[in-house]
């Protein structure tokens, strides 16, 4: 019984593959109804399933396959023409076979599955009057017997395992003609004889009729056979085994690296040669193992023709499918992960992208839309595109919808790039479809597509030209297991940064290139624009180092650009990604771990969560609050720019009551606070230099400059070193600061200027300033 189980298992696996092929062939057959090759191939595949199911005593499966085979034999023999209806019925039959197989797989029985309704449909199709063969319509049963006997004439072809092999063989006639050993016309007439019922093999016919030499025929037969042996030499391998091998090769690479290093030190030339040879063999082995995990993308595309056919038929659309680059290879596990997102994109393109035939004609296109699947390599990645020639995305509508859903503010729209607006469709719950169909339009999906692709380290984007179509583009790493990465030093540890996120590297020498600070928030001017910096040591909670002789890695993640400050950039290398223990998932900063060249474990940084953790997220709400605090209405904001130590701090001018200079000796102390008498009041002072932690040199003047702020009969004074200027600032250039006491930084008059959080400063001077709204303040702070 054990053995039987195994046989059934193999039968199931093989049949599933055959069924996928049949699906594809049937869809192609619909396009070229005259292709005898296709019909024969489908016929053989069904016949194999029928034969094996009979052998394994799955009688219902056999019955269904038999019915399908009968219909096919009529197509093959030209008794009945290939029509879309026949294709539909045959596809139904294949689906029936699939559900029986699924049932066998699940509970070992085929009894539950309904096949009768399908068989009735098949018979109806066979009995249907057909123009090309009105006379010859013998009873289906009799017809069904015929193909079996035909197949039995060639015993080799009837054996299930050998079936697919025949596909790959070049036909004998072809070989003979190519070799000049037979005339094309003779071969054609011999083939005709076979079709008409001659049971002899092609070579036999040619020989017996003296149309070819025995030697030539036997040579041709031999040249046929090597192809067979290639197919026979393919075996199925458990993916787990490959993974294990992969890991072991990874280990071998490490051991080799260590050995080579050791051997180099000994300087023994014989040993060095052996070590180099070992190195080469190891690299080749690694490459070989990698290759075993690669599969052409065709693997997941193969189901799509059927999906498109069914969908376009049900929607009344006409869609031609073009596949380019189906041989492009991807790591197996990635293929699995890409499958669903890709199917979703294809369904979406058929449903929403490609228009109805009438609409297409109205807009001057052909009634048939084209859906193009394209896969190609691009710089260590594989790009997969789903392109349609439909109406394109309606950018205005997306923008409008995004505003309605609160994803964008109306004033953001005019400044946005078209592509950025289009990218809103990847937001959860976003749908612009005016009607919800059972296919798509419910607003679920695109965000899932994005999440799934990003989970495997890929990216998704969309571009569209109105009236010309839409291109969805997935960028996928070649393999999950190995990534191209930069190793960097930070503190005394080595970290790994995936290279896909790295845009450029900048060395900070402290002179021509330097880090500037906006109240402790480091920034760098990258070609005139402020690049927010994240110090890796700070982000990791390590001891913070200096700013000279360090590197900035300009990184891009989640559409945000920032600079990561590290001590040293070492080199780029391919690293094998190891999953990190689940207990570290919560930290979020690490995408995984790897074994470095020296055998130590290195942590792979998760660039996007690094960006998030460092509060680089565009927190629009906070920005809004800041704006409301800073100014009453819209328009540009007038700022009082002051100098505090070496920094420039801007204070919204409309919060300023007066600018004053006090003699230094008028400052008195009340408790731990500094105060000054001012217009009969006690005015609390706060030194911005202390508040913001700018411990520059205190100016040794006789007076201090203060900015007085009053509200509700109370006043406080903010002490600055110097009043610099009054400037206008548009809010677009600012970004959020990472420190308390500030609401952000901006470039004002070509200098990095910090925007003071006035409320915060006032509270520092007088904690009871807003005593009426104390509760609110507590919540906010």
């Amino acid at each position: 019984m054990e053995d039987l189980g195994e046989i059934v298992g193999e039968f199931l696996m093989e049949s599933h593959e055959n069924l996928d092929q049949i699906d594809r062939d049937l869809v192609s057959l619909e396009q070229e109804p005259d292709s005898r090759d296709l019909i024969s191939r489908i016929f053989r595949a069904i016949h194999t399933i029928k034969g094996t199911s009979g052998f394994l005593a799955f009688s219902r499966l056999e019955k269904l396959a038999h019915a399908g085979e009968s219909l096919l034999s009529r197509l093959r023999d030209g008794v009945q023409p290939v029509s879309p209806e026949t294709i539909t019925v045959l596809l139904l039959c294949i689906d029936g076979v699939r559900s029986i197989l699924a049932s066998i797989e699940e509970n070992g029985s085929e009894a539950e599955v309904d096949i009768e309704s399908v068989i009735v449909k098949i018979q109806a199709q066979m009995n249907a009057p057909s123009d090309s063969a009105p006379a010859a319509a013998p009873a289906p049963a009799a017809e069904a017997e015929a193909p079996v006997s035909v197949e039995q004439e060639t015993p080799a072809a009837a054996r299930p395992v050998a079936e697919p092999v025949t596909d790959q063989r070049q036909p004998l006639g072809q070989i003979l003609v190519d070799a000049g050993a037979a005339q094309p016309s003779d071969v054609a007439s011999a083939l005709q004889q076979q079709i008409e019922g001659d049971e002899r093999k092609l070579g036999t016919i040619l020989l017996e009729e003296g149309k070819a030499q025995p030697a030539a025929v036997s040579e041709a037969l031999q040249s046929q056979s090597p192809k067979r042996s290639i197919a026979d030499s393919a075996i199925r391998v458990d993916v787990d085994l490959l993974d294990t091998l992969m890991n072991m090769v990874g280990e071998l690479v490490l051991a080799r690296n260590q050995l080579v290093r050791g051997v180099m030190e000994t300087g023994d030339s014989g040993l060095v040669r052996s070590a180099q040879r070992l190195g080469m063999i190891t690299s080749e082995l690694q490459e070989g193992i990698m290759k075993t995990r690669m599969q052409p993308i065709e693997h997941i595309w193969s189901k799509l023709p059927r999906v498109i056919r069914d969908l376009s038929n049900s929607l009344g659309k006409q869609v031609a499918l073009v596949m380019e680059g189906k041989e492009t290879e991807l790591d197996r596990s990635l293929l699995e992960a890409v499958k669903d997102p890709l199917t979703h994109l294809v369904r979406n393109a058929v449903d929403h992208g490609i228009e109805d035939p009438e609409q297409r004609i109205a807009s001057g296109k052909g009634p048939e839309g084209t859906l193009t699947l394209r896969a190609y390599h691009e710089g260590g990645h594989v790009a997969v595109e789903v392109a349609d020639d439909g109406a394109g995305l309606n950018v205005e509508r997306i923008a409008q919808k995004a505003v309605e859903n609160g994803l964008l503010r109306p004033e953001q729209i005019p400044n946005m790039d078209r592509r950025d607006i289009m990218a809103m469709v990847f937001q959860p719950g976003f749908s612009t479809a005016s009607k919800v169909t059972n296919v798509s339009g419910r607003g679920v999906g695109m965000d899932v597509v994005k999440t799934n692709i990003e989970n495997i380290g890929g990216a998704v984007s969309v571009d569209s030209t109105p009236g010309e179509g839409t291109v969805w583009r997935l960028t996928i790493p070649l393999t999950l297991a190995i990534i191209q990465a930069l190793t960097v030093d930070c503190g005394d540890q080595r970290y790994v940064v995936p290279q896909v996120a790295v845009l450029e590297l900048v060395f900070i020498d402290g002179n021509t290139t330097k880090v500037e600070y906006a109240s402790g928030a480091p920034v760098y001017r990258l070609r005139g624009k402020l690049l927010p910096l994240v110090r890796l040591d700070r982000a990791l909670g390590l001891e913070v180092g200096g700013d000279q002789g360090v590197y900035i890695m300009v990184l891009q993640a989640d559409g945000r650009r920032f600079g990561l400050v590290v001590d040293r950039v070492l080199n780029t290398e391919e690293v094998v990604v190891k999953a990190l223990n689940t207990r570290f998932k919560d930290i979020g900063l690490y995408a995984g771990a790897t074994i470095l060249g020296d055998g130590k474990v290195g942590l792979i940084l998760d660039v996007s969560s690094l960006a998030r953790r460092s509060h680089l997220a565009v927190d629009s709400e906070r920005e809004n609050v800041a704006e409301k605090r800073g100014q009453g209405g819209g328009g540009t904001e007038r700022l009082l720019v002051t100098a505090v130590g070496e920094r420039r701090v801007a204070i919204p001018l409309d919060t300023v009551t007066r600018l004053e200079e006090f003699p230094r000796d008028r400052i008195e102390h009340a408790g731990s606070r500094e105060v000054v008498q001012y217009r009969g009041q006690i005015l609390p002072l706060v030194r911005l230099s202390h508040l913001l932690g700018a411990y520059g040199e205190e100016l040794e003047g006789d007076t201090v400059s203060v900015v007085v702020y009053s509200e509700g009969g109370k006043s406080v004074a903010l002490v600055v070193d110097r009043i610099v200027d009054i400037a206008e600032n548009s809010t677009t250039a600012r970004r959020d600061a990472e420190e308390d006491g500030l609401v952000g930084t901006a470039v004002i008059q070509q200098r990095v200027t910090e925007l003071l959080d006035v409320r915060r400063a006032i509270l520092a001077a007088d904690p009871n300033f807003y005593s009426d709204s104390m509760d609110e303040m507590m919540v906010e702070v």
């Binding site: 990791l540 570290f584 790897t594």
Partner: protein, 145 residues
């Protein structure tokens, strides 16, 4: 009489034990990669034949100061739940066969972090062995006082 095998080890002079079947292997290793921002009980990561293993500092779990992690440190590698995890200990002891009747619940006087990690006490000749709750011992998110 039922008896169980325990792998024993010492931390801060106290003998601890875990059931032998929970242990994958015992080895000494000297290079650990620290994991910044990880819970304090995480001693670091190391490479066990190509597999990345997290080492949990049992000292921290017991409320003591961290292991210095300079020079070789003994690891008791537990099979864990699908992924092996290592316990950093001071010293490896013997594998002992213990009868169930030498077992007693932890003494009432035992308190603090150790109490939460221990399922009971085995009375050995001349000393006591505390049986660790393996899941608790490797739970680095357990509140450590």
């Amino acid at each position: 009489m039922a008896s169980r095998q325990f792998a024993t080890f010492e931390v801060d002079g106290q003998l601890f034990g875990v059931e032998v079947h929970t242990v994958q292997e015992v080895l000494s290793y000297n290079e650990y990669t620290p994991v910044p921002l990880a819970p304090p009980a995480v001693g670091g990561l190391f490479n066990l034949r190509g597999q990345v293993i997290a080492a949990v500092d049992l000292r921290v779990q017991l409320g003591l100061a961290r292991q210095a992690l300079q020079g070789p440190v003994m690891n008791v590698i537990l099979r864990g739940d699908g992924e092996p995890v290592s316990l950093l200990v001071d010293k490896i002891g013997e594998v002992v066969d213990l009868d169930d009747d030498t077992f007693e619940p932890p003494p009432d006087t035992l308190s603090g972090p150790t109490r939460e990690l221990v399922v009971g006490t085995f009375k050995l000749d001349g000393r006591l062995m505390l049986a660790l709750d393996v899941n608790q011992a490797v739970d680095t998110y357990r509140a450590t006082h």
